[in-house]
Amino acid sequence: MSAIDASRPTSAYREMEASVELSPLKTPPAVDGAAPDQELLTLNMGPHHPATHGVLRLLVTLEGEVVRDLKPIIGYVHTGIEKTAEDKAYWKAIPVVERMDYLAYFFNAYAFCGATETLLDLEVPKRAQYLRVIHMELNRIMSHLVWLGTSALDLGAMSMLWYSFREKELILDLFEYSTGARMHTRYFQVGGVIEDVPAGWAEKVLEFCALMPGRVDQYGDLLNKNEIVLQRLRNVCPLSEEELLALGVTGPLLRASGNPWDLRKAMPYCSYEDFDFKIPVGTEGDNYDRFAVRMQEMKESVKIIEQAVHALPQGPVMVDDRKVALPPRHELATSMEALIHHFKLVTEGFRVPPGEVYFPVEGPRGEYGCFVRSDGSSKPARVHMRDPSFVNLQATNAMVKDSYIADLIATLAMIDPVLGGIDR
């Protein structure tokens, strides 16, 4: 049997999305001229299950257990954040932009603030840059911990989730201590950070830094010698560096194939050139390398945080430009000028010179690039986030083609897509 029975009635649901072409493959490829003995099956996965990394839907064309074609269908959590940001003053757009990739909120905020600072031609004080680095690297570890826990869960390693979430909670506590919120902290502002870190925070961060490398080793002990994990990851779904580059893949996925591209080293921003750290790379580009690169990245991030805390410069945490930064609270009672600035900033916001900039930063999943166009008013005329998950998802088909459907789940876990970022 080869052709799909045309007389069968189509469901109303299928009619509604008639433009979604199922795979052009209708029959399995013939082997040595012999007619195939099975037909292809198109399986709908989601929207949701694929081990629930988000509301992702996959149309998988299977020959037996082997994936022959795959189509991701996205947009289920599209909330129009880019459109919403156009209707808000620059400083009010930060919280909505933070909510794009919900595991990398500091990176979203930094990409947006950095783009706006470039438009304004602002130089951010050194202390604010270091505080940003500390928060971003903590965020990177946090994001990798969520990835590690959920990915291990996909492979059947239940307890890993509790261990990694235990450490993730420590990081969220640190965020709460310094910024007042666990997630979507709104800590980064255009021109610096909202306020200095509280007394005792640095010591808590160092305590965490002392603890974390040992914990990463413990995860390694649990997983690196686990026969099941190794069989599920080693030599599974590799993809070559050339193909990854053509598909625009960045971040740990690209580094796993041996390309050491990391914006923190290649095109340093936010004082990353001050820190001594290494870029872990893989050799095979398979799922195991994707796993190992991220594990090592957590340790490197700890190194950066330790250096940044020890070398944290004294000074202001916000630019001294009253047209952009809110005046200190105590001045409002005595200075008329400060009161006017405060009023203007809170009601209208600051105006930004017209122009367009693209500001890329290296996030936990790759290049977060924020494109901001200003028309000279106090609201951005266009905000676009080049989200790495959105681009990396395109590599799924190339990775899982001709491998088992079980490996599709493992590979999807290693791609680490965050649907909030994909759909925005």
Partner: protein
Amino acid sequence: MPDATGLELLAGEIGDAAPDAILGTLHFRGQATLLAHPRHVRSVLERLRAAGYANLMSVHGVDYYPEEPRLGVIYELLDRGRRDRVRVKVRVHTEDPHVPSVTPEWPTANHHEREAYDMFGVVFDDHPDLRRILMPEDYEGHPQRRDFPVGGEPVIFTKDAGTRQDYTQ
């Protein structure tokens, strides 16, 4: 980013090969932009690839309302060897929003172009799979256009099926 002189040289180099491909250059805050004619976008990107800008990092749409031509498509190119970026911009009118697709040469552009089509209505000719990516299949209008209102999106209940408002009118 190439400096202002480097950008002019780059534009001149491409302009020599195809005289009407480059419409202008823009250097702002250290970031370089080449304004290209939409018809020549594929050849301009190919020439930039030959000049070292071998990675396409992002493609996104912009609406310049009320300026004309209203729609813009922006290509962010990266040279990993020289650690250098350059931006290519094309502008099209809403009446004829056709831009040649670069997906055949740059596979990464696939999702980006679908998003620009979905959000702005830019039609990428010869795109292998040009359909909406984020909005529902049967959605009318292109929500990221500047004249598309924020909010007011009706919640579709079964009883209201078929009475959807068309915001493009």
